[in-house]
Every structure is written in C-alpha cells, then in structure tokens.
Amino acid sequence: MESLAYFAASFVTQLQSPMLAFLFGGFALAASGSKLAIPDAIYRFIIFMLLMSVGLHGGIEIRDSNLRELALPAFFAALIGCLIVLIGNFTLGRLPKVNRDDALATAGLFGAVSASTLAAAMVALDERGIAFEAWAPALYPFMDIPALILAIVLASMHKKKTAKGGGATITVRSIVVDSLRSSALSALLLGLVIGFLVQPQELYEGFYDLLFRGFLSILMLIMGMEAWSRLSELRQVAQWFVAYALISPIVHGLLAFGLGYIAHVMVGFSPGGVVLLAVIAASNSDISGPPTLRAGIPGANPSAFIGSSTSVGTPIALVVCIPLFIALAEIVFGV
C-alpha cells in the first residue's frame, strides 16, 4: 500500500521534469500552429552531440568495468529485440485490414532502439540518483540490429510464400552494416572507441557533457513538435497501428524489466541498467530504423510505421515508460 503511494508519488514527480516540459511544449507549439522551427542542421548536430557524449562517457568509464558482466544483459537485449518482432507479427500482423509488410516494418521499428529516448532515460536516472553500468547504453545495438534483421527476414519469407517471388534480396550482412553505419550508431561507437583509447576526460566534461542536458531539452522540444505534426500521417492508416503504438511500448518495457531483473539476480546487473534495458525495449527507432526498413521492406507504407512510432510510440515511451520503470525500480530494488 505504502509502496504504491510511493510509486505514484515518484511517477508524478518525474512528470514535472524539465525534459518532459519541453516535450509537452513541443506538442503545444505544433498544436497551436507556431512557426517556430528548430533547423534541421541543428537537429542533426544535437543527435551527434548526444550520442558522441554517451559514447565518450561509456568509453572513458568502461576501462574499470568488468566486461564479462555485459554478456547476459546483451543476450537478453537481443532476445527482446527478436521477441518484440515476433509478438508484433502474431498480433498486429494478424489483424484485419493490416498489411503484413506494414505490420512487420512497424514491429521492427518498435523492436529497434531510439537514441533520443535512451538519452532522456539517462538524464532521468541521473536526476533520481540511480546508478547504472558505464556500458549499459552500449546494449543499444544488441537489441536494435536483431530486431531489424528479423523483421526484414520475416517480410521477405512472407513475400516468397505469398507472391510471385522476385524483388530485392536483402542479406543479413547488409542489414547489420546498414545499422552500424547509421548516424546514431556511428557516433555512439566512435565515441566509445575514442573514449576508451584516449580517455579525453577534460574534453568530455568541458564540452560534450557540459552541453548534454541543454541539447537534450531542445531535442525533446523537436520530438514533441514532430509527434504532433505527424499525427496527420495516422489518418491514412488502420486504427490498429495506433492501438499497437499505445500499448506495446509498455508491454515490451515490462518484458525487458523482467529479464533485466533476472540478470540482476544472476550477474548483479544494476537497477539503473535494468531501467535502461526496459527503456530501450520500450523505445522505437527514429534514426537507423526507418531507412533500413524502407530499403528492406519496400512494400511497407512509410506513413504506417513513421506515423505510429513518432506520434504515438515515442511520446508513450518518454512520458509513460521512463517514469514508470524508474518508479518500479525504486520499489523493486529499493533504490
């Protein structure tokens, strides 16, 4: 009882974080037809700065950490990525009026990971003083890539079964390469390597970390504006996509929280790490996913997967899932 009250209180407090205020501000601006627009170049620069910062920090810290502990959480991350796609295939994909290609592309996107949501979760954990392993953000690709691969492979198997065959043949290798080459993962991995090799502590603290929260606040604003503006895409799309985008982030996150808890018990995975695992499961890819899926499942309508993820899935992940999983961790782990 008491813990439920604590849970609710934690949840509500978190809703008042500046980051969410900027997200809501973005909704409000777009809804009111404001002409304010953050230039595209700034948006792309912010993404670079955030991921380079996350990477550098991880790389600098990783020296002192026991990388063998990474194995189980990484395996779970990959497992979750695949499970999400399979779940999507068997729920969303079997619904009436839902095209299988669209369903698989959407499930792939929700299985993949959003760098922006990850960054927001890291700041939220910081604010609540919950620690996590330096390598935890590096779980990202372990979930991202399997989800994209599985979605594309299932789509092409389905196509072969039903259609006259033909079409582009996409290899698993090309999907992996495409994901690693995306601007988000490139920046994250480059940061990890540079951070690890040259330990640029001063540069990290005096520049990348210095600007981190500020840039994240602007990114939240952009995500809010984008979410609202893309709502119109949804009108062209079956209602089921909206329902899926509302519910699945929470389901995926809880699933990951459970597996993360197992890793906590078995190898001492930290509470903050469990939250991050749950958040990257709940998040959906905004950077590497869409183009990879567009190339891999050309029959899928981008309106379906972009509309439901940007306008519904991402806000749910940011507004509901992050506070929810943090509050849950506070109860479960007593942090």
Binding site: G167, S183, E233, I287, P290, P291, P302, S303
Partner: protein, 104 residues
C-alpha cells in the same frame, strides 16, 4: 548555335540517389544536376525543412541533358523499370536546345 537535345527529369527518394547517379555514370550521361526538395504524391508528405535525421525519404530532383534523345529515353526507361516498381518517384522528358554541344 543551338542544338536539339533532350532533358530527362527524375524525381525520387534520396534513398535511390546513389543508385540512380551510378546508373547515369555507367550508361554514359555526360553529367547530371541534382537539387533537393520536398514533395507530395501517393505516399508520405515529405518536407525538406522539417528536422529529419532520416533524410532518405527526402525528395531529390535529378536532371540530365543529352544530345541523343533515343539514348536519353532508354536510360529513363531503365531507371523507371529498375527502381520505380518498388519505390516512389516520377520521370518526365522534355525537348530542349543546348548551347556548346561539345560539352555533352
């Protein structure tokens, strides 16, 4: 002096940009010009000026000019066949005249 020529304009997703320009290089177009834009068709509304880390869905407008109109048409047809079954995009062909024909 002006010489008869043919202009082919291809409007496609940026995703295809590299493949189309490679094809133009190989089939012997003497050059091409590319501008970035936005657009609307049967699919997504694409807005160039909105923050978009995913630039692959942006629209590019590629045009090439050729003296040999039949060859230009062949190239255009090949692009349409290779890419525009699966992906978005349109192609149109207009007659033109060029100056300094030695450039083409």
């Amino acid at each position: 002096m002006a010489f008869a020529a043919t202009t082919v304009t291809i409007i496609a997703e940026r995703l295809l940009q590299d493949r189309i320009t490679k094809l133009l290089d190989e089939t012997g177009a003497s050059g091409y010009t590319l501008v970035e834009g936005s657009g609307k068709g049967h699919h997504l509304t694409r807005t160039h000026d909105r923050p978009s880390i995913v630039r692959d869905f942006d629209i590019v407008r590629i045009e090439f000019v050729m003296l040999d109109g039949d060859h230009a048409r062949e190239i255009a047809q090949q692009i349409a066949d290779d890419y525009f079954t699966d992906y978005s995009g349109i192609i149109y062909i207009t007659p033109a005249e060029v100056l300094r024909s030695e450039r083409f």
